[in-house]
């Protein structure tokens, strides 16, 4: 993987470091352009409902994903977070969004935020990880159904 042209470009460019620590603006820029428009709308809608949405993850590299997989912290080897565009830059089709006040804490307000996140995401035609049946990823929103994972991986040249 690291020897492919795309991987080289990602690791040598400005898209390095822990992508969970990037600024909100940089996380937004790491998204696919069409998806980014929808996520901006989603964030605005949540703010309109008096939440404080924060993008925790936009794009993250396949290398990071595989490290998590090897540590047993996920069963997913490729996700929509990992997509790359033709020019080798991040092109994520997924975000994780939390309310900065509650994050993932076990309080009623967190559940209210997840519910709002799911409602607003679906209004925009997006797919919400709270609807999954094999496990829940409440903060996760993605552009495409999971059946398109293989297609996006291929398009990413991965």
């Amino acid at each position: 993987m690291s020897s492919s042209p795309k991987a080289r470009q990602i690791t040598s460019g400005k898209w390095t470091g822990d992508s969970a620590r990037w600024s909100q603006n940089k996380k937004l820029r790491s998204l696919n352009s069409g998806f980014r428009i929808k996520i901006k709308k989603l964030v605005a809608a949540l703010e309109g409902r008096q939440f404080r949405p924060k993008i925790f993850y936009g794009w993250r590299s396949v290398e990071v994903q595989l490290k998590l997989y090897k540590k047993g912290r996920t069963k997913v080897k490729f996700s929509f977070h990992n997509a790359i565009s033709n020019d080798g830059t991040p092109n994520a089709y997924a975000v994780d969004i939390i309310d900065s006040r509650y994050a993932w804490s076990d309080v009623p307000e967190t559940k209210e935020f997840w519910k709002a996140l799911g409602e607003e995401a679906k209004k925009l035609g997006l797919y919400w990880g709270g609807d999954w049946t094999s496990f829940k990823d409440w903060a996760h929103v993605q552009m495409h159904p999971n059946s398109e994972l293989g297609k996006v991986k291929k398009e990413s040249g991965l």
Binding site: G72, K77, S100, D131, K136
Partner: protein
Amino acid sequence: MNRFYIKGFFPQRLVLCLIFISGFVVINANAASSMPRANGATSENAPDKALSGEVWLAIIATETSAAAIAAKRKQLLNLYPSAKIVHSNDCSNLKPGLFLLVSHISGKDRTPEEVLTEIRTDVVDAYSRPCSVVTPSLLSLRIPVIHASIDQVPVDAVNWSNEDRVSQLLKVNDAEYLLIERAYDSHNESPLEGMKQSVYYFKGYPKQRILIEKNCWDISQPDSLGNRFSLHCANEMAADQWLHTSIVFDIEAQSIVFRESYCRNPRLASENQLSCEKESIDADGRLSLSRREILIEQ
């Protein structure tokens, strides 16, 4: 931790020892005639009984990968709809790390030669092998090592590994087990692409098994005390972490008697006292754990 695994059934032991891919190893008639005759206890006509001792297997395909043997089963499904996949680790005398597609196991009514003669009209290179059944094992308990639904995993799936296709046995104690059944369910929506990992409890022979959890990821080893055991299953993700639910199962009641969300590594201090590590994830995605003592109400 390893003590709970059934001996010889680590996925890591799937060593590369390919016998064939499209062709089969042909066993000559002399070898076949030396196969043991089946006895009543191991007959395919007694499916409610555990297999033990030495049996023989009529083998119609062999592969080193779970995906490849599932594909082979799918290919031969019309000819052998009841063929089962057996892991060679479950036979102490066989080369480990192989998946065997088996059309017959020790029919008492027929000799291996008779069975092979019949099979070879369709699969010319079918062969038979004696098998000293490891007890307990998925084979001894007549549980397919690769669930039939696995044959339907989409060929373009990106998140399935070999291990995700292979069922597994965990020991609770000398007579009780957990079956981790790995299957495919197209309705099980997530990036796991239909992956399903269910956990069942059973005692002795799995004629009746009890579903503990339909989707149980990152399962822990069961911690057994008296009539109860505890374990955890992950069923949520937060940032880069699994979040777990700790479960207490009562063997006499044959049911789950307690659940604690966001708690991992459960330990039973007594049948009514559980300790587990409470999980919390902050806004930076950092995991904190704090062990708690919880009283299980009667």
